[in-house]
Symmetry: C2
Subunit: 218 residues, 2 copies
């Protein structure tokens, strides 16, 4: 069954396309302008992490940030997808963390360098289990939250995305073909912050899905 | 046979890791500092293009640049590979073009944004056929050249890389696992420049391999 295969997106999918600053309050909390068009970057699939394995700091990082995001799993191949057809390309969802080496990223931004090392190291994309498309009736009205050691740090709603999921699918596919099993990370609400070794992250989408990961600084 | 499978790297490989400014003269020609450590970015595998198909401009680009590069095909999985063992992870080579929307990239650099859209659209990684590892005795002493409409534009030697292939494999794999079929683009020598619709690009590595691609601005 197709949906069964799609549940293995972390095994066969080839790319993770992520969106920066897609919630106004998050753009502002980092002192950034609210973008006029989506800020797109990619993360390698070797960055996926399953529950039960710890999140690691990459080399040179001393400021590791959590960003909880709604992950979209692409259900079928498409290129130059019209916004009004975009929903047909959603195969499912998952709770994702877009872990960010904020210090490396700030350095990259200052120097006009790519974001890859600050976003793409092994363990930088902790991911929950695949959620069937039918389980979520309106992906643009979901609570999205994250706690560190039991304390709420991020608590937003996907209704507050600047660019909707359909707009993102259409925009990204103007540039690059989306393939079955590819992933779109739709941005993080405000409340991002630093982590230390031993911290425990819980995060989720409403009461549909929840993930737990620990942080290892060794 | 393993080498037979590896020849299909464009079909099953999951990532393209590219290196910016790895030849001193090229860093300087764009007014950039010679980097102290490798500048790493990724391109999606949907950007591969085979001969016989035209290179396209991405949306919003009016300054499309050619960059000829030696492509390395990773032969086996590795993480935190010591520099002295790096050669064991080379599975083969190919002639690659790291097509760059220079105007989009300059804009990204100015704003501290990721490079993805300026480097990652469909057709942005034209690639020649797989070259068996044994065909090249010393990958750090190869002429690497590119002509536009018969006129030589880039003519360098891989001996002039700032960071060697072994150093790059070791450096990249400190952050992310390299998998069989992944690719490393090792940077371009000086002489990059703009293209227009109808231009024909020929490029190659010494007399080992040659590619031809046309440019379509429609
Ligand atoms: Mg990138
Ligand atoms: Mg993010
Ligand atoms: Mg290049």
């Amino acid at each position: 069954m197709a949906s069964n295969r799609l549940a293995q997106f972390r095994v066969f999918g080839k790319k993770i396309v992520a969106v920066g600053r897609n919630y106004k309050a998050h753009a502002e909390e980092l002192g950034n302008k609210v973008p006029e068009k989506p800020i797109i970057f990619t993360k390698p699939t070797t960055s996926y992490l399953s529950q039960g394995h710890p999140i690691k700091f990459p080399p040179g990082c001393n400021d590791l940030h959590h960003e909880v995001e709604l992950g979209i799993v692409v259900g079928k191949k498409g290129y130059q997808i019209p916004e009004e057809k975009a929903k047909e390309y959603i195969g499912g969802y998952f709770v994702a963390l877009d872990m960010t080496a904020r210090d490396l990223q700030l350095d990259a931004k200052k120097n006009g360098h790519p974001w890859t090392l600050s976003k793409g190291w092994d363990t930088s994309t902790p991911a929950g289990e695949f959620i069937e498309k039918d389980k979520i009736t309106n992906p643009q009205n979901l609570q999205i939250w994250l706690k560190v050691n039991g304390e709420m740090r991020q608590n937003g709603n996907t209704a507050d995305m600047i660019f909707s999921i359909s707009y993102l699918i259409s925009f990204i596919s103007k540039y690059m073909t989306l393939e079955e099993g590819d992933v779109i990370l739709t941005g993080t609400p405000s409340g991002v912050g630093g982590l230390k070794g031993g911290d425990v992250i819980e995060a989720g989408i409403g009461d549909v899905a929840k993930i737990t990961f620990s942080v290892d600084k060794s």
